[in-house]
Structure formats: C-alpha cells, structure tokens
Symmetry: D2
Subunit: 346 residues, 4 copies
C-alpha cells in the first residue's frame, strides 16, 4: 500500500508522470484530434523517435503497457509453431501471467547470468533443436527475447548484443528487446548500447514509458518498414489500441523533446550511484552487479524491520532464515532528500 510519511524506493513507478508531460497534456487538452494514433502529436512523436534511433524508415506504434506490448509483438512476429527464447528469469517467462502462452506460444527458457542470456547459451539451444531427430515434433525457436536492462538491472554490452544479433540473423530468427526501463540503460555510464544500435541490431524493440516518466505507454520500434504487416489491426485485436492515441503520442513527443528521456534516465542513475557508493562504503553486500536504477542488497531481517520504519524498500527474495535480498529502485522522481534519508538510515 501507499507509503505515507516515509519515502519509498520500492519501485520506479510509484508516482504519476514527469511534470512536463502533465503540462503538455493540459496545454493540448481541448484541441480536437483524430483517434487511434492518427493525430499530429503522435506523428510528431514518431518522427522524433525515428530521428533518435537514426531509423528514418522505422514503423513506430504506441501501446499501453509492457506485458501487452510483449504479448502483441511476440504473437505478431512468431509463426504459430514457433516459440520465443528467453532467460528463465525474463519478464515473459515469469511475470506475465501466461500472456505469451495465451497467444499460443511457448516461452523457451534458458539459464541466465545476472538476468542475461549469452550468445553461447542461445547457440547451444538452437543447435540442440536443429540436431534433434525429433525436432519437427518440437516448438521451433523463432525469436530471442532480451531486456535492456534486464530484470536484474544488468546491461548487455554492445559487443554482446552484436553477437546475439548476428547469431539470430544467421539462424533467421527475430531479435526483440524489451526496453521497459530503457531510459535507465541509456543514461548509465557503463552502457555502450545506443538507440541507433538497437535499431540496427534488433528486429523489434520498445522504448519504455511507464517506468521512465510517463503515465503509461511503450513505444514499439520496428526499424524496417512493414516488418509486421497490418500491425494496426493486430494491436486492435489484442485490445491494445488506444482510442485517444494522442495521449500516448503527446507523452512520447514530450519525452523526446529537449532530451527529456535522457534527463529522466540520468537523474535516476545519479541517485542510484550515490546510494550504491554509500552502500559500498557501509559494507553492504550487493549480490547482483546492477549498474542501473535498481540496486539489490542483502539485509538481515532484524535490520530490515528497523529500516522499514524510515524508508520503504522492495522485497526481492529470501536468502535464508535471517537474510533477504531487497531492491532499491530510483526513478526520475527520486528526490535528493529522500536519498539522504535512505543513506542516513542504512
């Protein structure tokens, strides 16, 4: 439930939207525009995203949320007899309530390292499939699903992504990147994967809005025009088409004006880096080497109780009787004074 008097670091979607988004919604509120994304705000947002991705031919679509976006794209790209390779910890593997299977497709889980898949693991899985004498009785891998950053806040390097992309293309399977928290990857000093890199290497990816400063919304980028024919109708069929498409368009138009999406990411990373530094100095164990806006720390249960009076953290998992892993997430909305409070009570 809602954090009243103590600041919360439980997740990165605790507030509404970046104030500039609300301001722009208010300014445009009474302008009449066509529905279903045929409005001028949406057109402008698409052009700004094309420019940011150096992908002038890209098809851009705005959907509402992450699970919806994953389910819609994966169903649209895969053939009926294909499945999608994902880390066993991936969002689609665990936390989408079977949305991919509801669309008829198997998630093919692979072992992960800090939330990441390796080209090697994917390659082994593909070989195993193609060399199996009974593979025609099995689900054919048709796509690789990655998240940047991953569920664990970790990042694929450009060389890793290039290797996976080359592997996918060699095997004629699609590469799709879930960027629910992409702002926090792009703004991370350790990151070397840019939007143009994603556009060059992926068949599809999405730029997350919900967790990166918008009220809601995810921008799907299909770098090659007509990658998914009739995707508008497919979106509608998946119940993912906004009647007032402008609401998503205005938000992304704002996020991609004056580098707002970058600034949102950077302020969250700055806050996370301050917290990581303090944790490190105080000797906290951080079991997952996340350089982005999510920090995972080991805490004694006793200590946690005291901590939880002052700040709210997110539960991640139990280690043993006495220890848990907690998640600290920062966002565009994280305030300096709340970081101070957190550091003070560590």
């Amino acid at each position: 439930m809602q954090a009243k008097n103590r600041p919360s670091f439980a997740s990165d979607y605790l507030e509404g939207a970046h104030p500039l988004i609300l301001q722009r919604l208010a300014e445009t509120n009474l302008v009449q525009s066509a529905g279903y994304g045929m409005d001028e705000y949406t057109a402008s947002a698409k052009n700004k995203i094309r420019a940011a991705c150096c992908a002038p031919e890209a098809d851009i679509f705005f959907l509402v949320g992450g699970t919806q976006t994953n389910a819609t794209i994966i169903d649209a790209v895969l053939q009926s007899y294909q499945g999608v390779i994902a880390a066993e910890t991936g969002h689609i593997s665990v936390h989408e309530a079977g949305a991919i299977e509801a669309g008829g497709h198997k998630v093919l889980p692979l072992p992960h390292k800090n939330g990441k898949l390796s080209a090697r693991e994917i390659s082994i899985a593909l070989d195993r499939y193609w060399k199996d004498e009974t593979h025609e009785h099995m689900v054919m891998p048709g796509m690789v699903y990655l998240s940047q950053p991953t569920e664990y806040g970790t990042l694929y390097s450009l060389s890793e992504l290039k290797e996976i992309s080359a592997l996918c293309h060699r095997n004629q399977i699609a590469l799709y990147v879930d960027g629910a928290r992409l702002a926090y990857a792009l703004a991370c000093p350790k990151n070397d994967v840019t939007l143009p890199d994603l556009a060059a290497l992926c068949d599809a990816f999405y730029i997350g809005g919900t967790k990166c400063g918008a009220l809601f919304g995810e921008a799907v980028v299909l770098p090659s025009h007509n990658t998914i024919p009739h995707f508008f109708t497919i979106i509608k069929q998946h119940g993912a088409l906004l009647a007032k498409g402008r609401i998503a368009g205005i938000q992304f138009d704002t996020l991609f004006t004056d580098n707002l999406y970058d600034r949102i990411g950077r302020s969250a990373i700055d806050a996370a880096d301050r917290i990581r530094k303090a944790l490190s100095e105080k000797g906290y164990r951080m079991p997952i080497p996340s350089p982005t806006n999510q920090i995972f720390i080991e805490v004694e249960k006793q200590q946690l109780a005291a901590l939880s009076d002052k700040v709210e953290l997110g539960f991640w998992e139990n280690i043993d009787e006495n220890h848990v892993v907690m998640r600290i997430a920062t966002s565009w909305a994280t305030r300096q004074e709340d970081v101070d409070t957190l550091i003070a009570c560590l």
Copy 2:
C-alpha cells in the same frame, strides 16, 4: 486527421480529458503509491462506484479500453465451448478486429432493430440451439452482450432490460452490458435504466471512461463478489493491467465525485438535443431514432461537401449514389459556439 479551424463532431473522443481529471492528476502527481490498482485512489474510486450502483459487494476493476474490456470479460466468463450472442451490428461483432475470436469464442450474431436485440430474438435463438438435434456439435450460447446505449445511440428501456435479464437467468447464461458511452444513456431524459438497475440485472457491465471524459479507462462492475475468480490474473494475462493503476483510479474517483459523470453526460445530451431540434425544424431525415449523444442524418453528397468546409461530421454509411448517412456526436467537450456554428450551416 485533426480538425484545424472548423469544429468537429466526428466522434466523442476528440479531446483529452475533462479538466477536473487533469487537475486531479496534477495534484496527486508526486504522491507515491503502490502499483497495479493497490493504491488509495483506486480504492476510493471503487467505493464511489459501488455506492453509485447500490452494489456494496461489487467487484470493480479498471481497464484501459473498450475492446480490451470486452475481450477480457467475455473470455473470462465464457466456457471454452460457449459463444456470445450479440447484435449483428454490435461492437464485438464488427469493430473489434476479431478480438473475441482471438480469445477462442464465436460471436453469435442476431438481427437488430436500431442496434438493439429483443428478448424475443434471443429467446428464439436459444430455443433453436437447444432444440437442434446436433447442438452438441455447435457453439453453445453462454452470454448475451448488449450495449447501452447501442452503436446506434439507442437505449434499452428498463422493462426491455428486465425481460432480457430474466431470460438470461432462466437459461443460466450471463448478461453483460457494454457501457462505453454509458454517461450519455444515464443523462438522457428518455432513459429509465439507472446504475443500480444495471447492477441488479447484469452479471457484468462496464462504465465507460474513454468516451465520457477520461483520458482512457473503463470501470468493470461485477455486482456479485467473485463472479470471476482470479480476475486480477486474467486481466494481467490479457495485457490489460496498468502498472500505474492509480491513473485509472484517480480518473474514476474524479468522475464519481460531485456527480461529474452525470454532468458530463448531461452537457452532451443538452447539446445533442439542441442539434436534433434544429435538424428537425430544418427537415432533415434522421434514419435512426437515437435520443443520446449520437445523431444520424441523411445528407446529399453535394450538400455534404459544402457542410464539411465549416464543420466536420463523421461518415456513417452510403445510402445510394447521392446520399450518405453522417454521424454527429457531442461530448462533455462540445462547446455552445460550435453547436451554433453547426446549426447555422445546416
């Protein structure tokens, strides 16, 4: 595309949201709250809707759009072998890109009268099914889907709704009412079906937000607690769960504060009534007797061209070489001066 200098009556979702909604989103923007509808705004909105429906036990859920809501509820309520009876003109029959079928269910279309089904037609269809010796090879009717108002702006009377509800319950099939434009029914002087009536007579219905003053959002009302077990997970599986559930909660909390939902409906109906009166005086033929916020008029194509320079209307259908039916829709955002403009150029 966007109407620039001329007012548009093409639909009732041309603008953003009622200003009170934007104001409330701004006021609450930086308050931290839990995700997925576990916040206090959503809780408050649910209570207000329960009160408005005189349905203290009702389960309330907020989804994003109409097609999504229909697809999710229908799939959740029907058994795998059941289909849903709907008017052949119903939204689910025609304009949802096969979303119901994508969920595995057949829409069983019946003839309509001005967009309405009759208890008699439904009864005949049920009899035909049950008396058919091969009915075990056929799709079993499991639900009746109505819209209030219908696609044609017409209304079910309380007695009609009672008759259909009794028929459904006698046959142990669910009754579901799509209220995408419910505000415009509730506010209509000719309407005698209240929210408590809907709660008493339906197994499920939704109170439309998108077309009635919200940025987006539909409030599903399940009058009997636990009508759909695990509906939260089902919503997630359908990609219909908002991470920032509060955005829907705040909107419906605002709509159900100080009768805003009623006021929104009433202003649209007042504008529509003024237009209807003028049309009537000027001798326009209105082929569908809609008393709500949608007006359908016959226009000569030549005349339409002239009209379209001054106001934008919505195309409905061709009648013959020279005549079309156009739709005029009013909304909470319709301005007096635009109605004046419209009437002046009729």
Copy 3:
C-alpha cells in the same frame, strides 16, 4: 442409435470401411514401418493422389477427420488478423463447435443458395470490407471456404469455381475446398469439376475419406509445394498427427488404386438416382436440388412415423407443425435390397 432390423439411410458413415481397405490393412498388418507418415504406404498414396490430381508438385498430408482438417488448414493459412468467408450454412459456420474460433479466427458468414456461395456475394463482401473506412478495425477476409458437394449436396460447376478462384486470386486471398464427400461429387453425372480442376483452382482442398469408404481420414492436397511451411509441425501442434500414419496411408493408397474412390462414389450416386427417380414418380417434394448422394424430402410427420418402422432416415429440419424435411443418404455400402425396401415403403 443403431439400426437393428431396418436399413438406415440416416448418413453416409454408418458402416466401417470398404472391404478392400480392411483387406489391405490385414495384409500389411505385420510389416514394420516408420511412424508419422514416413512409411512407404503413405509415400505411395501421396504419389497416386498427385497423379490423380495432375499435380506432381503437390504436398499431400493425411489427417483424421473433417473438422480437424478444416481447423488445421484454416489456422495454418490465415494470418492472425484474418477470417474465413463461408456460407452461413457451411460446416465451419455451424457444426464444428467453434473449432475455427478456437484457433483464433472469425468465420465471416455469407448468404447461401442451396448451400452455395456465389462469386457475386463474395465480391460484394470483399468490396464492403475494403471500402469501409474503418476496415482496419475489422477482421480481414483471408480465405474463401467452399464445400464440394455442399452441406446440401449441391455442386459448384467448373465455371462457378473458376469465377470464384479468379476472384480470390485477384484479391490475394486463399481458396479452400472441403471435400468431405468429394467422391459423391466426382461420380455425379452433373459434375464437371475434376480433381485436376480442384488442384488448378484451389490453394488447398481435401479429399474426404471418412464419408467415402475409409475408416477415417482426409487427404489434404496443397497443389503448390510449400504452400504451408512446416505444416508437419502445425499438424502435430493441432493434435492431428497420427503416430501410425500408415493406417491413413494404406487406406488412401487403396482408395486410389484401380479407381476405387470413383467406384465408391458411383455406386452411391446410382443408388441415390434410383431413389430420386422413385421419389419423383411418387410426387415427393424435394426442397433442395441435390444431385449427389444426399436427398432431401418433405414428409408429413404422420407418414414419417410409419416410414420409420421400416427404414431409418436422417432428420433435417422442421418445416411446420405437420411437415419435416428428412435426409436420405446413400454410400458405398448402400445395398440394392435396402434401396428396394426404401422405395417400396415410400
């Protein structure tokens, strides 16, 4: 239930299989062969069907039953956002328990004439779709489904089929013909559509076994190689792959040896023609002009009771209080003496 002492004309699948099929199953019974249709009997049957169809490049697959075949092919051929046009009386429209919708696709019903669609009706439906301004919100027609003969025993002429085929190809939608009773069309003197014609004009069709002398089985013909990539896996995914594929292969190999399929059809048609002649002489009204192995007659309910003591007919539909339509179906197994009995008691 089973007809004991009186002969039954209730349907064309009342017996086991043509004796030559049982004989061949017995002869080959202990030969070991590979599973899943990789055996030599299946290979031989495919070659014989390719030859009969003058379609040397055709892909041939053997499935078990009609609904399964329709559901598997339609799902494999259609894109997710497409539906299939069918007569409102078509098997997929009415009597497949929603199997097409369970695969995610809408059946788009059109009015029929004696069970047949016309190129004109199809053309109007396609035009209506493409000219509708909102067609991107609608299910796109992706296939035309016909039956030869139809549910009503009627036949498409070659010129009708050519016209529909040309229309489909012009509109880039697939043409699929359900040949559950194809033997009875091919053997009908009024028929001018051959197997090579079907192969030349359709994207897919099936040659029915279940109702034409086999224990079970339908032979799918895809005249162009690789019309449906990975169809083997799709068949498996639909639960339609026989482990002992040879059982279907042996049956079709037998059916296409020494013109057995033709002979089966001809004997049924001969019997039906004798019955039709007698009915005609005795003044029975036959409301549907079926020239194939199904005959539809109007009977008074009183008269029916007497008749039913001596022979079993199939109930088709009620006309009014006192009259019903009954179906008489002949098959490869219809005996001369049973026809005599039937004619005697008419």
Copy 4:
C-alpha cells in the same frame, strides 16, 4: 524409414494392430451404427473399461492420439490462468510441438529423476508459487501431469502416486496421468499401480491404445461423472471427435475382452525382460532403470554401425564423441525370433 529385412526395435508402433482387433473390425464392418460414439460397440467398451477400473460412475471418451488427448483434457480441465506442472522431460514439455501452449496454457517444467516427478519437487513448486508476493502476476499451477510409464519407461509406485494424489487434492489441483504405454506398466512385475488405483487417485487419465496394440485410439477415463461438463463438445471443438466413433469403440471393446490388453502388455514385457537379461549378461550399461517395454543402452558408435546391419534400434541421445544411448522397444508384435536375432548380435 521402413525396416526391410532386419527386424526393428525402434519403437512400439511399427505394426498395424493386434490381429484380434482387425478381425473384429472385419466382423462388424457392415453393421450400421450411429456416429460420434453413440453406437453399441462404444457403449460396450465403456462398460468394460468402467468394470476394469472399478469405476462404475466414470465418464469414458475415446480420442485418436496422445498429443490430441493431452491437449484436449488439459485445456478442458485448466482455467485460463492456470498451467500444468510436468517433468521437464514430459511428452507435453518437449514433444507435442506446443500443443498445450496452442491451447493457451503454460507447461510448468520441474526437474525429473529418470523421467519421474517427486511429490517433494511438486510441493516445493507449489509453495514457491503461493509464497511469492507477485504470484498473482504468474501462471497458477492447476494440474499435475504424469506419465505411467514415463518417457523413460520408469514407473510410479503406488505409494508415490498416492503421495502425489494427496498433495494435489490438498492443493485443489487436478492430477492427470498420461497412459500412452499403460499396458506395459500394468503388465510389469515391478508395477503395483492398477487401473482401479488410477481411477481412485486421478482426476483424469487415459489408457493408451496406439502404442498398445490398436490402430489408433486412447481411452480417456474421468472417474467422477461430469468432471468435465460438455466434454463431447470440447472434443469436437478440438477436432478430436471421430465421425465413425465405432472404430475406436470396437478396438477398445476388443482390448478389454478376455484380458487382451493385459496379454498385449505381458508379451512385450516378457520380450523386454529376455533382452534385459541378455544385455546384463553381456555387460551393457543401461543408464535408465526402466522395467517396462523400453530399454536404454549405451553403445559405442562403431559397434552401433555393425549392429544396425542386423537390427534397427531407436536413437535416443548422444553421450560423447564415441558413445550414444539407443532405445530398444518391444511391443505386442515383437516376435521371439527377432528377439533371438537381437540377442545374437549384441
């Protein structure tokens, strides 16, 4: 491809059907009977199976194949938001081409031991699900799927099955047993699980025909009447309803007459035991302790080539550069002299 001059032990579905089945099909061939399983042979088979299972109230249905049966039952029993727990090596996990996911359900794989799940593993998985704070965003376990014997030929003991059954019922999830090769379990001296045990402990199971002497066919047993309402229609919707249901009925009626099903199992087990004894004496390593009709042996690749000139074995998996695991399967049709040949060339 087909084994010509050398006997094959590659699988247990290399031949047609047990001769008594063919004989019975021939004897009854010209008797007319009702379709869709409404015939007297099917009724008789059902009664015999009810008797064999000591389950007089059981609903029995005959389907065509194993994947079809699994997909139909699992889809019918699970709620839309539920998945099925299975061994990661289970048939539904690997070799059904995604048929379960095509029905919308996730297979929840668990580690196995020789193809078996343990109550402990299942219990841990259920606990993990229910204790996860985010479990409402996850697929709910709704069923446990076991095979008896497993893919590896191993058996659940009665006490293991009782423990799993009790666990399932305590957690209100269904227990379903895939008995594709059930004859070979029932006839195994090490087995202590009878048909009445299965009926007492499972919510659903099937008695395999295809791999146990029939041309095709699986007998679904639902021990409690009306476990799956409208299952007939569900079967039809899944394309799994035989028009000539009698063909399955006659086969199972024969299998359950004069203990044929037991005799079929026993002869296969006797042959397998002879082979196992010889293998053991000759020092072959058998990596999986299967006591049923499947035997897994380690062979050097060089040795395999020589062996394959004389008998055909089934490839199972590679161990390393020089070694493979091969499968030897016996069946009702395995001949003494072929066993002699096999043993001679080991």
